[in-house]
């Protein structure tokens, strides 16, 4: 049984150590904070200028001046802070953020990531994706292993325009958790009932079985 989106998010959350500062991208990554236990202090940064972002409580009303990078209403935890954009990206580019969690359209064997548009002529928004992918200490990707139509997303080379080159450290998919070292990929774990042969067949480059 492949992992569901929530199970992928929970799997990522389980691997985030106490004390890390984490930037989360749009889509599946936004599910991750919900799986961090209350007693583990993890600080979430959003590039529009907040450290210590938390979900809006059920009784709190949305504030138009308090949003995340996906423009959804949020709240701030005690110990959080607000700041302007250039300082926010100094945190991101300057290696001060422990982890970035992003979605992806394609990942290459060399760790390249394409996650903002599918061809050069398309009008798309890069937003903060290139900064986050290039700047964070660790980059983990939350994604489905193949597309809805069965096309591979983990490829020898990306065919879509790159967001950043040679940056991906781990992939958390519905089939497996994979870790990269240069152009070598190792399976950290497989989803229940998924064989190494199945995961390999859904991956466009060689992957090594779990130790």
């Amino acid at each position: 049984m492949a992992w569901t989106r929530n199970e992928i998010a929970a799997r990522i959350a389980a691997d985030i150590p106490k004390g890390w500062v984490v930037n989360i991208g749009v889509g599946m990554p936004t599910l991750v904070p919900g799986f961090i236990p209350d007693d583990r202090e993890v600080l979430f940064q959003s590039e529009n200028g907040i450290l210590g972002m938390v979900a809006l409580g059920p009784k709190e009303s949305p504030d138009p001046e308090l949003i995340d990078a996906g423009k959804r209403p949020i709240a701030v935890r005690p110990g959080g802070s607000f700041f302007e954009s250039s300082l926010s990206f100094s945190m991101i580019r300057g290696g001060h953020i422990d982890l970035g969690i992003v979605g992806a359209l394609q990942i290459s064997r060399a760790g390249d990531i394409a996650n903002w548009r599918t061809d050069e002529k398309m009008i798309g928004g890069i937003g903060g994706a290139a900064d986050v992918c290039s700047g964070v200490k660790n980059l983990w990707v939350a994604m489905l292993h193949v597309t809805d139509t069965g096309e591979l997303k983990l490829l020898d080379r990306c065919s879509y325009p790159l967001t950043a080159a040679a940056v991906v450290d781990r992939v958390y998919s519905d089939l497996a958790v994979l870790e990269r070292s240069d152009d070598q990929w190792q399976v950290v774990s497989l989803a229940p009932g998924v064989s190494l042969a199945q995961a390999s067949g859904a991956t466009g480059f060689p992957i090594k079985g779990p130790d």
């Binding site: 200028g49 138009p64 700041f83 302007e84 009008i123 928004g125 890069i126 937003g127 900064d131």
Partner: protein, 222 residues
Amino acid sequence: MNDAIRDVSDAMTIAVGGFGGAGFPEELVRALEDQGRKDLVIISNNAARFERLINSGAVSQIICSFPFGGASATLRESIANAGVELKLLPQGTLSECLRAAGSGLGGVLTRVGFGTSFAEGRSIINVDGTDFILEPPLSADFAFVHAELADRWGNLSMRGTARNFNLVMAMAAATTIAEANQVVEVGHISPDGCDVPGIFVDAVVQCSNLRDARDIRFGLDT
């Protein structure tokens, strides 16, 4: 508002603060829509809130990082129909190039975009063995910014994530106009709580409609 922006003329570059609706100078932009200018260059993180300005034929170019989310079909059409040139920069590069212009610096050396299409046509500078993309500074004739509080010296105080691009837009422009939910006496804004020192701001206007009357939308497309 109309009076505050009377010196904006055709073909000027206008830097506009805000991220989505947060900290966006809605009233100054509405006034600009009424002004009937042509060939404006807009620098702002998002493009979605300039749809009326684009449809009126006032805009020739938009420099931004995230023009709009996937569902903005009408804006996509507007940009195509009006022949607006979209120039995309990674968000951190956009803010840093504005900061560089406002800081008297000759550009930004960044690794962001290296090995991607964002490096095309750029000079590559090697510093101690590492290659960087050289991005030129980004300046503007006018900046429009939004604050919670402003005083007549131009000191600004923001709330929450409304700070965003407002500081760098104010720094990068020859003339900065700030709209504020509340214009207060000099001394009311604590020196500890001043987000934009008045030195970067040239004029301050009181918003006529407080936040509750602003066009508040949440979600990716705003």
